[in-house]
């Protein structure tokens, strides 16, 4: 599984829109393996930061923005590392026994290792634990129910490194002080199940609180809320987080990364990625260094370059087609498919919906895709919201079974985007309307006051004037329902003062001009 070191790595740090990026290195620096290169400080929450470490040794040749093979679909700041092939590591700190650490220390260690949700969401693992810290965590689920076609990275990880996964689960349980820890896996993966059983058995004398639960392998079994329901029976309400109900879900890849960080002292510099597709001669699972290019990985797997292929990130149902193979592997790149010409081909001609309801039977959220389609066509937003469009998890099950080959999920995505855009527009227009009404109001007041002012306004006393004006306005204004009285009077006073000052200024200027004439 270990891969050769590519000549160049393009290590993604994060998109500038998502937060502040602090670079620890500059172009031309020599770095060691495991060395911290940069970190992304999320702007919203002060504590959230994701550090990035060097996957191997080499020289930083550039820092630039580029697309990454993940679902963000936005340019990210990447550190381009020209590797030296020596792979010289920093001396690793001898790992501390994690059993001696407190919860906070564990979380800090997890944060410093730069571990994010490896399943695809990419949410910082430490933050997830933090978010649930102020309430009792009843259940920690390690999500090994990898359910999408093509993806087998988690399964491969478990088959080969089950002990690490189990230890990582135990560390996560300690860090989040969860009462129960469950590893959930699909019943259709006997090898991985066996490996996990052995690992749990082997470690039962140390900890022994980790359980294995098999879930039915029905897509999308690994979707967070669906998994929680099949494991615990708890149905997390729409719009709420599992943490609010004492449940925490971590991906099995994250669990292994936690094991590496705490038990071996290694930060997150690689991940298991599935390489699949008919265009590859030897599809396999690789431990891919973060930052290596998709093209490099395909080359190792013997891609047939004479044939055209289409590159898909993720599985065949929720994946994303990548425009090029130049993108770099990020921490959430779980699967890359080099699909041959006949594979994952666009579906046949789209036909009319016959309302057969296969989609509704397939929907894990119990939506009515056939109805949503009809409402999407007429852009009936109120009905779309009523029928739960925003609850759609975009798993693609409805598309898969549709006998009319209608691209339902695509249509829903567009509808969602349209509704969101509309909401933003609505909010904006409200702000503009308020401004406009305020403007009108101001003009009217100006007009009302115009005769008194034209008589003679001393140029240099606007402040005192405006104070009085403000009081008089607030006492007789009838349009004030739009604003809170106090605020309005204050603002109007200030605005009137500004206008007056300006007018007075211009008046004196014109009078001066008159004089000069």
């Amino acid at each position: 599984m270990p891969m050769p070191i590519p000549p160049q790595l393009q290590i993604p740090v994060g998109a500038t829109e998502n937060g502040t990026i602090t670079l620890d290195v500059a172009a031309g620096d020599h770095v060691h393996k495991y060395q911290k290169l940069a970190q992304l400080q999320m702007s919203a929450q002060g504590r959230t930061c994701i550090p990035v470490h060097a996957p191997t040794s080499g020289i930083v040749s550039a820092i630039e923005e580029a697309y990454v093979a993940d679902h963000s679909q936005q340019k990210q700041v990447c550190i381009v590392l020209t590797t030296d092939g020596l792979d010289t590591p920093l001396p690793l700190e001898p790992p501390v026994d994690y059993k001696q650490l407190t919860c906070e220390e564990l979380v800090t260690a997890i944060r410093r290792a730069g571990i994010v949700g490896m399943g695809g969401a990419g949410f910082p693992a430490a933050d997830k634990i933090d978010a649930a810290a102020h309430q009792a965590v009843d259940l920690l689920i390690i999500n090994a129910a990898e359910c999408e076609p093509y993806i087998s990275a988690d399964e491969a990880l478990i088959r080969e490194r089950a002990e690490g996964v189990v230890t990582g689960a135990e560390i996560l349980q300690r860090a989040s002080s969860a009462r129960r820890c469950v590893i959930a896996i699909e019943s259709s993966k006997p090898d991985a199940i066996q490996a996990l059983e052995q690992a749990i058995e082997a470690q039962s004398h140390i900890s022994g609180s980790c359980e294995l639960i098999l879930v039915a392998s029905k897509y999308p079994a690994g979707s967070e809320k669906q998994l929680i329901q099949s494991v615990s029976g708890i149905e997390i309400p729409s719009g709420q987080l599992p943490a609010q109900h004492g449940v925490l879900v971590h991906n099995v890849g994250s669990s292994y990364a936690v094991f590496q960080a705490l038990a071996q002292g290694k930060p997150c510099i690689s991940r298991i990625t599935t390489l699949s597709g008919q265009a590859l001669k030897t599809p396999k699972n690789f431990e891919a260094l973060i930052g290596c290019s998709v093209e490099f990985l395909f080359d190792i797997c013997g891609i047939d370059k004479s044939l055209s292929h289409k590159t898909v990130l993720g599985g065949s149902l929720m994946g994303l087609q990548l425009p090029s193979d130049n993108a770099a592997v990020g921490k959430t790149t779980n699967c890359l498919i080099a699909a041959g010409s006949a594979e994952l081909a666009p579906s046949a001609d789209i036909q009319a919906c016959i309302r057969c309801g296969f989609c509704a039977d397939a929907c894990p959220v119990r939506l009515l895709p056939q109805q949503l389609l009809a409402f999407s066509k007429t852009a009936n937003n109120s009905q779309l919201l009523k029928h739960g469009l925003m609850d759609c998890i975009e798993c693609g099950a409805c598309d898969y079974v549709c006998p009319s080959h209608i691209p339902l999920v695509s249509i829903y995505k567009d509808s969602k985007a349209a509704i969101e855009a509309r909401q933003i527009n609505h909010e904006r227009s409200e702000v503009w309307q308020q401004r406009f009404q305020y403007h009108q109001y101001r003009i009217k007041k100006e007009k009302d006051r115009a005769p008194t002012r034209t008589k003679a306004v001393p140029a240099k006393k606007p402040v005192a004037e405006s104070g009085e004006a403000g009081v008089s306005v607030s006492s007789n204004g009838d349009e004030q329902e739009f604003f809170s009285k106090e605020k309005a009077s204050r603002e109007i006073a200030a605005a009137v003062a500004r206008v007056k000052a300006r007018r007075a200024g211009s008046k004196t200027a014109t009078s001066e001009q008159d004089k000069s004439k």
Binding site: P149, G233, Q351, A360, V365
Partner: protein, 387 residues
């Protein structure tokens, strides 16, 4: 649509409408074969005539609407509509009756509403109901080949009955039966001196339903008790065997998951429950027996093939059940208290009227919505299991 091609999902189950429709046609075969066996070629001719005019009307409408003819004809929905329509038409009905009905179904009930997937009412039943209202006589007279009704009198060359030759009831599948069925369907083909009126009058026979309607016993059981074959045309098992044929086809559809169990089960259960409620040995002549309601008429084909037409039916699961109950109640009510012999067409159309409202009001609970009680229950049960 090119941008759609680059968006997930990239994989498809491979199912398509044409496959569904084909399976549906296949599932109709047992019932059609049984009808053919008992009633002769009339039913087959009806299906063929309806199929021909359905395809012609579909092609014409697709052309007028500027659609891709090859693509839309390939979905076979017109053929399914034709088959469902034709099996309800009495054998021996003239060709123009069948053609009129199916053209009305395809042109008015289907394409004028926007084609496949847009029709609020079941097209086949629209065509059927239109004929029933406009041509009540033709639609309720079942013409069976002469031999079945009266038997054949063997005559010599001079037309004198051969002495000693017994009257014999021949199979309607014989060549003579075929010729008569053809003449009934295409009266213009008969030679000028052929008295078509006398011919048809002689053949006219009331709907089998009437005979069996008040019978109060199972012809199948009677045939078994008397030792005659179930498929013997002399026993009165025809409708029951045909219904069992459609039931088998319906089970095939369920097995293939082309229809869900909700609508058929709701209809059958409702008809059963209501007919049991009203059943009393003394009043069989008014209310009929539960068995008769299920197997003595068009209940099976209605429940499995007609009410399940997805386009015009309710589409949510709870909605489907209510839809089935409404149709079941209508079937029973129209049969028992109404003036029509059988009622599946009107019952289904009535269900179609209700379907949009059912879809709106009978929706499944969305995952994670409306949960305040459910969560408390789960949490309570978790609490109680904790040590």
């Amino acid at each position: 649509m090119s941008s759609m091609d680059t968006r997930a999902p990239f994989q498809h189950s491979g199912k398509n409408i044409a496959q569904l429709m084909q399976t549906l046609l296949l599932a109709l075969l047992p019932g059609i074969c049984a009808s053919l066996w008992f009633f002769g070629y009339g039913i087959l001719l009806n299906v063929l005539i309806a199929g021909f005019f359905a395809l012609a009307a579909e092609t014409a409408m697709l052309r007028l609407r500027g659609k891709n003819i090859a693509l839309h004809l390939a979905d076979r929905s017109a053929l399914v509509c034709a088959a469902l329509f034709a099996i309800g038409i009495p054998p021996g009905a003239p060709w123009w009756l069948v053609a009129l009905g199916i053209i009305f179904a395809i042109v008015v009930a289907k394409h004028l509403y926007g084609g496949l997937g847009q029709n609020p009412f079941n097209p086949a039943m629209c065509g059927y109901a239109m004929l029933l209202l406009a041509f009540p006589l033709q639609m309720t007279s079942w013409h069976l080949p002469n031999e079945v009704v009266e038997g054949v009198l063997f005559v010599d060359n001079l037309g004198i009955p051969i002495a000693g030759a017994e009257q014999e009831i021949l199979s309607p599948l014989s060549w003579r039966g075929f010729k008569q069925a053809l003449l009934l369907s295409f009266p213009f083909a008969a030679s000028s001196d052929f008295d078509i009126k006398a011919f048809t009058d002689g053949l006219a026979m009331a709907t089998p339903l009437i005979e069996f309607k008040m019978a109060g016993h199972s012809a199948l059981l009677a045939a078994r008790d008397s030792g005659t074959s179930l498929f013997s045309r002399e026993s009165e098992t025809a409708w029951e065997v045909i219904n069992i044929g459609y039931l088998c086809g319906g089970l095939l559809l369920l097995y293939k998951r082309i229809i869900s169990w909700h609508i058929p089960l709701a209809i059958i259960a409702t008809v059963l429950v209501v007919s049991v409620l009203f059943y009393a040995p003394g009043s069989v002549s008014i209310y009929g027996t539960p068995y008769l309601h299920l197997f003595g008429s068009a209940t099976m084909i209605g429940a499995f093939f007609i009410a399940t037409d997805p386009v015009s039916a309710a589409t949510t699961r709870p909605g489907k059940i209510v839809y089935g109950i409404i149709i079941g109640l209508s079937i029973y009510s129209i049969r028992v208290w109404g003036s029509y012999l059988d009622s599946v067409a009107f019952a289904v159309l009535f269900g179609n009227f209700c379907a949009p409202a059912l879809d709106q009001f009978c929706r499944p609970r969305i995952f994670g919505r409306g949960l305040s009680r459910a969560i408390k229950l789960v949490e309570a049960s978790n609490e109680s299991t904790k040590p």
